[in-house]
Amino acid sequence: MMVTTRQQTREASVDRANLRERLAFGAIWVAAILTVLVLLLIIGIILVRGLPHVSLEFLTSAPSDLGRAGGILPTIIGTVVLGFVALLIATPLGIGSAIYLTEYTRETRLTRLIRFGTESLAGVPSIIFGLFGFIFFVDVLKMGWSILAGGLTLALMVLPTIIRTAEEAILTVPLSYRETGYSLGATRWEMVTTTVLPSAMPGILTGVILAFGRAVSETAAVIFTAGTALNMPTSLLSPARTMAVHFYILAVEGISLEMAYATGAVLILTVLIINVVANALVRNVVARRLRA
């Protein structure tokens, strides 16, 4: 008698545990599907409503009537140039920094401080970068609202991304590569340039591409440093309006919903391409490592 009862309670509790598991897993599946749906919804809405208004002419002509008509060429140029200026500054700094941290020093108080700086910088909100860029580059250094001021601000913003990914990429280069290099009598720098960097390059590139993506999508830090002028930029000291800023202004000011969707579609496509390329690079590296 006793035995059966105990077994029954045990079965009941197992049943209850199984039921709980089913409920929990069901909820988790729902959450996962919901997340994907939200992503598809956002991308879908922008592309479906925007793409019909995107044409070659839209991509290659200047806006007129404040963006109500015409295209977005100056904002595409503005975005690309701004992104490149930012990378031109941040990439050497970031890679140099990563090489130093991984190859040239041990863990010291200084490296801990540097890591703290990098991590903190990564967490600083973009509006703070905007405030800083506005007062330092635009005002104190008298660059005005310009591609240069915006690019420098963005460079600081993406620096942690580049440092971290480069560091990770360098750390995954097998120690044996280095040992071989040293045994052949290479100096540290020769080793870095001939062995470590080439082998870590795809990983580093991924970081650089992702950093470019951040520069493309940024608004708050750019609007106060590069300005909002709709003209084609003619020099590094011209102001520029990026696609993201143009999209923001079109949307918030209700200038033209169609043009906002069209600009949004181009923006989303750019981000998609950036992500696909970055992913392909990573997958390539993994595949190569597996083969090796």
């Binding site: 031109l88 500054i89 050497p92 609202w145 003209n231 020099s235 918030v252 000011e253």
Partner: protein, 263 residues
């Protein structure tokens, strides 16, 4: 890092050489900039190779930019403060009426100035108290520092503070957009940018129209200003652009866009 810096400086220098009068910055009021931008577009069509960068940043920022030389010309939609007026030359380029706008489906056609004050200060919170439907009122105002905000405070509110529940938007266009979307909203924008997505109310029986602003029947109007440092000669391109804005063609265009001409 140094190499990158040098390249940047060289590029910057190249891009800038000999272009002292090829491009200028016109910065300031978000209320003025759509009009300045439009005239800049027309001007640039007539003068190939010249570039007028209109930056929509706000009156105070524009005044400051002009005073500091970051921009050749500042745009303001508020009167200059005394200390600003001491340092800056000002030119009235047009007058602009402030329209009180509501959703097109709102049955209200007219409000008195006192009613407007009571609405925006929060004393009246339901449309039925001013003869409308039984709905909560959504106020939409500009943020502190904008020329439109100060003009509304001075002309309409006479210093009575806004209700804290009022939504704040960063430009005329943004207010129009919110009011066009929300059936219970009320806001204020330039007469020049009122369109069919919103309805402009008459105040104390006077329609907000260019005609009524010109003959002072509609009293809620402010000046749009261009400013630049006193005692400093504008560079030729800036001077030419100011002349264009003040020309018959420029003024006609501004009137066509809904502003009140000053010449």
């Amino acid at each position: 890092m140094c190499a990158a810096g040098v390249i940047l400086l060289v590029l910057a220098a190249c891009g800038d050489s000999g272009s002292a009068t090829r491009h200028i910055n016109v910065s300031g009021s978000t209320s003025v900039s759509p009009f300045a931008e439009h005239l800049a577009e027309l001007y640039q069509k007539q003068h190939a190779g010249k570039s007028i960068n209109v930056q929509s940043l706000g009156s105070s920022a524009g005044i400051q930019a002009a005073a500091e030389g970051v921009a050749e010309i500042g745009m303001s939609s508020r009167e200059l403060k005394t200390e600003e007026a001491e340092r800056l030359e000002q030119r009235i380029i047009a007058r602009d009426g402030l329209a009180i706008i509501v959703h097109p489906n709102n049955p209200i056609q007219n409000l008195t100035q006192a009613q407007v004050q009571n609405l925006f200060s929060g004393n009246i919170a339901n449309w039925k108290d001013v003869g409308g439907n039984d709905h909560r009122i959504t106020l939409v105002v500009r943020e502190a520092g904008s020329g439109t905000f100060s003009a509304f405070e001075e002309l309409m509110m006479k210093g009575i503070p806004n209700a804290p529940s009022a939504l704040r938007q960063g430009s005329n266009g943004a207010i129009r957009q919110v009011v066009a979307e929300d059936p219970n909203a009320i806001g204020y924008i330039s007469i020049g940018i009122v369109d069919k997505t919103v309805k402009a109310l008459s105040i104390d029986g006077a329609q907000p129209s260019i005609e009524n602003v010109r003959n002072d029947t509609y009293r809620f109007a402010r000046n749009f200003l261009f400013v630049w440092p006193k005692g400093k000669q504008l560079n030729p391109l800036a001077q030419d652009y100011v002349d264009y804005v003040m020309s018959d063609e420029g003024q006609d265009e501004l009137e066509r866009l809904g502003l009140v001409r000053v010449k």
